[in-house]
Amino acid sequence: MDDSQLVIACKKQDRNAQKILYERYAPMMMAVCLRYSGEEETARDLLHDGFIRAFTQIGSFSGKGSFEGWLRRIFVNLALENYRKEKQKYRFMEEYSYVNADESEIQADNSLDIENIPREEVLDMIKNLPPGYRTVFNMYIFEEMSHKEIARVLGINEAASRSQFFRAKNMLRKKISAILHNNQRQIQ
């Protein structure tokens, strides 16, 4: 059964169709949840809540775009809602990270070469970013949103979005350098 048939069945609350769709897309959506939440437990909760929302709102899916794209937007929105809820908690952590960021370490080099880094490690690098940096990075890189849009969605100003993205890149660059350095060591 293809997606469109499954969607039609899901609109009739067909439990089997829902199960098939879940099994087909859950691993992919789990990766999205992990990328945004950074924690396994939160990602599981998001995965669960996301599918509940998807199946209860499936009537609004017109079938014009891909089901995967529609489903992905549900999960991203859910992750952003969760971020907004937890923002107060994150604020302190980010302020701490910001204070401890060594501005002198910021490099002029803008390259982020991840070609030789395994996918799992790339995901881990993103997961380990501070929440604000991670969220802005995900929105800019994977959702292809502009800093203006990110600022509007997160309720921050555009400069803050640029700044967080810039810092996220620097943190990733350091991690990539470390990983590449380790790999070279192991080869030697």
Binding site: Q13, R15, Q18, K19, Y22, E23, A26, P27, M28, M30, A31, L34, R35, A43, R44, L47, H48, F51, I52, F55, T56, D109, N110, S111, L112, D113, I114, E115, I117, R119, V122, L123, Y140, I141, F142, E144, K169
Partner: protein, 446 residues
């Protein structure tokens, strides 16, 4: 050097289609939640129906109360003079006329303001020829009585001949004399239709308060204080006109009439504006959907009265500022996103914190009634306070929406019943008892 776009492409291609391991019992958990959600939707649907029904009932009851309340209709009662005269003409049955005059004096006619009344009396079938009818009264009943009386008188003195097939407008000499001498307040026309007459029209003209008529008026300059104990709707000042030639009138009454000669067009109105309230409340959830709410509510009550006639005008304004402590129980009927729809029931205790009574008198009312102090104006401002706290119970349906954290903006439509606090100064609470209101405010939920 990589651009942001290059970085984007690099990460997207790296993680495109990447799959992470899912929890083993993930689907079971989702399935359980889906079943629970289906049950909740059924409950939500029922609550929606119940909430909608409750809102409709509240609106219906409110509308009925609103429409039925006479104060809201702005009806003004105006006195109307009923004219009577002593018989001076050649009317044969003068004793009957006098008795009728006395009856009219003792029974002033009062009705809401309206335009001139036109009475059309139809006689179907054959009418007796040669009889002319003079109908005079401002009310259908009065006109009928007068017509019957005239019918009797006319049968003795009426003309016997009427030309068939012609329509003739004529005034009977004897009748005209009676009209001019006895009843100058009315214009009378007698239309006689000869032959196969079909229609007899008589129009009662608007009363003319002219020479020879006086008004005996009962009026009050007190306004709010004058009728605060009993009046909860516009008050009518009744008046009856009595001819000074009336031989049954005592000398003292004649003097009183002279003093009130021009005191016509008496109007007395009292009007309460809708109370304006706002408050800050806190709400505590006892259970999932049930919460108690209390706080502080300020209300502003404004009433005004007007007593006027041709000679004087008294305007009074009463302002009362109340502070109240509500205690409500709110039940969330359902939620649409972050918007909560709830039903509320509760009560409130209010006490006035400041009150003011302002009276402006113009004309004779400001001075001794017997003195000629025309054109003068007086102002009185008195601080007032109510003795007893005002207790009320209320019910309504409302909406609330979060504006920041746990602070919610709410709006509620409902009605409140105000118990009689037996206070000195009448307000909308004491006069209307049931007040429909719309409340808006901020509520902190914890």
């Amino acid at each position: 050097m990589m651009s942001d776009n290059d970085i984007r492409k690099g990460f997207q291609s790296k993680l495109s289609g990447f799959e992470a391991p899912v929890p083993p019992n993930g689907w079971d958990s989702v399935e359980r939640s889906l079943k629970a959600a289906a049950a909740a939707r059924t409950v939500l649907r029922r609550r929606w129906y119940a909430g909608s029904a409750a809102a409709v009932v509240v609106l219906l009851v409110g509308s009925i109360l609103f429409i039925r309340n006479p104060m809201e209709q702005g009806e003004t009662m105006v006195s109307e003079s009923a004219s009577t005269t002593s018989p001076t003409g050649n009317t044969p049955d003068s004793g009957t006329e006098m008795a009728s005059a006395l009856e009219s004096v003792s029974e002033p006619i009062t009705r809401p303001v309206e335009s001139r009344q036109l009475l059309a009396a139809r006689s179907s079938g054959k009418a007796e020829t040669g009889k002319k009818s003079v109908i005079r009264s401002s009310s259908p009943a009065g006109m009928l009585a007068a017509w019957m009386k005239r019918e009797k008188l006319g049968s003795e003195n009426a003309e016997k001949k009427v030309e068939a097939g012609t329509l003739q407008l004529m005034t009977k000499p004897e009748e005209k004399e009676v009209v001019q001498e006895d009843e100058k307040l009315y214009e009378e026309e007698t239309i006689t239709v000869g032959g196969n007459e079909k229609i007899l029209f008589a129009e009662a003209g608007a009363p003319e308060r002219g020479q020879g008529t006086l008004l005996l008026a009962v009026n009050g300059g007190g306004g709010l204080t004058g009728y605060q104990q009993t009046v909860n709707s516009p008050m009518t000042l009744r008046a009856a006109s009595v001819n000074t030639d009336n031989k049954y009138m005592t000398e003292a009454n004649k003097n009183l009439q002279v003093q009130t000669n021009n005191a016509t067009n008496n109007v007395s109105e009292m009007e309460h504006d809708q109370p304006v309230s706002f408050g800050i409340t806190v709400s505590k959830y006892l259970f999932d959907d049930l919460s108690v709410e209390t706080g502080l509510v300020y209300s502003y009550l404004h009433s005004k009265s007007r007593n006027t006639n041709d000679n004087f005008k008294v305007q009074e304004v009463q302002k009362l500022h109340y502070l109240g402590i509500p205690l409500n129980v709110n039940y969330n009927i359902f939620s649409l996103g972050q918007l909560n729809v709830y039903a509320s029931i509760g009560g409130m205790v209010e006490k006035d914190i400041y009150g003011e009574f302002r009276k402006i008198k113009e004309g004779q009312a400001s001075a001794n009634f017997n003195s000629a102090a025309e054109g003068s104006e007086e102002k009185e401002i008195t601080k007032i306070s109510q003795e007893n706290p005002q207790i009320s119970v209320n019910a309504g349906v409302g909406l609330s929406y979060p504006i920041y954290d746990r602070l919610r903006f709410y709006g509620k439509v409902g009605g409140a019943y105000y118990f009689d606090a037996k206070n000195q100064y009448k307000t909308i609470y004491s006069d209307r008892k049931i007040v429909m209101d719309i409340n808006v405010g901020l509520r902190y939920e914890f």
